[in-house]
Symmetry: C5
Subunit: 95 residues, 5 copies
């Protein structure tokens, strides 16, 4: 998984019917020091994440292992909202 | 998923029979600011996308989770046409 | 899928028995402008491609969705020989 | 698999229920010379690894092939704690 | 698949039980000109490869399609020892 910050939303009315009802969030990837790396992904939300929140997301086939994404053409899913992370004993981020 | 702009088409008459009848579109990857990143992919279309349109595409095994791509040697599929996306509350792209 | 040019062959007599009889081709990745990107992959041929030809190849689990590669330890397959591709209405490559 | 050093932990109380009870560790990727590469991943622990330890981790669907991660939205798993590795006959790392 | 040279070994006594008995080899990725690219992977050996040998390896779920790696948390496997490869009609490497 990677750490990211939800920074936006994508609206797409014309889509593969299996994606109906899903929420597409733009997630900017974070480094372990909580800085933005410049990469992003559009991930389906499975945990009620909102813009501004720090999350973990899974990619590839693992992104289809949630109730909302199973058997759907989805390659990235937000599967957790991060409370805190520590590096070398120091708190880098706290919600 | 990633955001991209459809910029071209690929024609290939001699191909794995499982790919017969599919449309191959050249998709340039877009950054969250709607600029081109320099990367591209050839994706199968599952939503009737045309050249010039902004789309979302899924990669890897997730690209086989649509009716047209199931069980086929396809690793990228356009699964949505984008209407709009917002970053930090501002509209970056509108169809 | 990505575009590539077949530029060579690999011979390997000592191999996983499931790979017996397959043809291994060195494929240099092409950009959308038909220039070489510097990346390559060794792909199994499923369409009778030869050295010099421009092809499309699929990667990952999708590379196992052809008759010759099914259930084999193969992560890249040539699944089409390209006739032509167009970008922004102009022909970039013609066989 | 890749080599990495466990350098931190992630706490996430609001998550996909399938991830309940799993330990999320921040793993910095190591080069073969035991230097940090700058990349990281958040991996689920399946072997009792702790902060400071050098580990091997598997990514993608292979990360779901352990008892603790099977059928879960997990794309990286620590599947071994490294005792030692050698390059060109010289020991690079010893626990 | 990619080309690589086996340059080392990894020993890990504490590991996911499914990995017991497997050999972990450090493989440096080679470019098509037989130079090292700077990337590496730790791959499970399925063909009796030794340090110094040039090999092909498969990544991702395809790495689980050999007898020794099936259903195990393994994302890279050496599936062939290379005898020779040719680029543009010239032999680049010969065992």
């Amino acid at each position: 998984m990677l750490l990211g910050r939800v920074t936006g939303t994508v609206v797409a009315s014309q889509k593969e019917p299996l994606m109906d009802g899903l929420t597409f969030l733009v997630v900017r990837q974070l480094g372990v020091d909580n800085s933005e790396t410049g990469s992003y992904v559009v991930a389906v939300d499975s945990v009620g994440a909102g813009v501004g929140e720090v999350v973990m997301y899974a990619s590839g086939s693992s992104a289809r292992q949630t109730t909302v994404t199973r058997d759907r053409p989805c390659d990235a899913v937000i599967m957790a909202i991060v409370d805190t992370w520590e590096i070398d004993g120091e708190t880098v981020y706290e919600k």
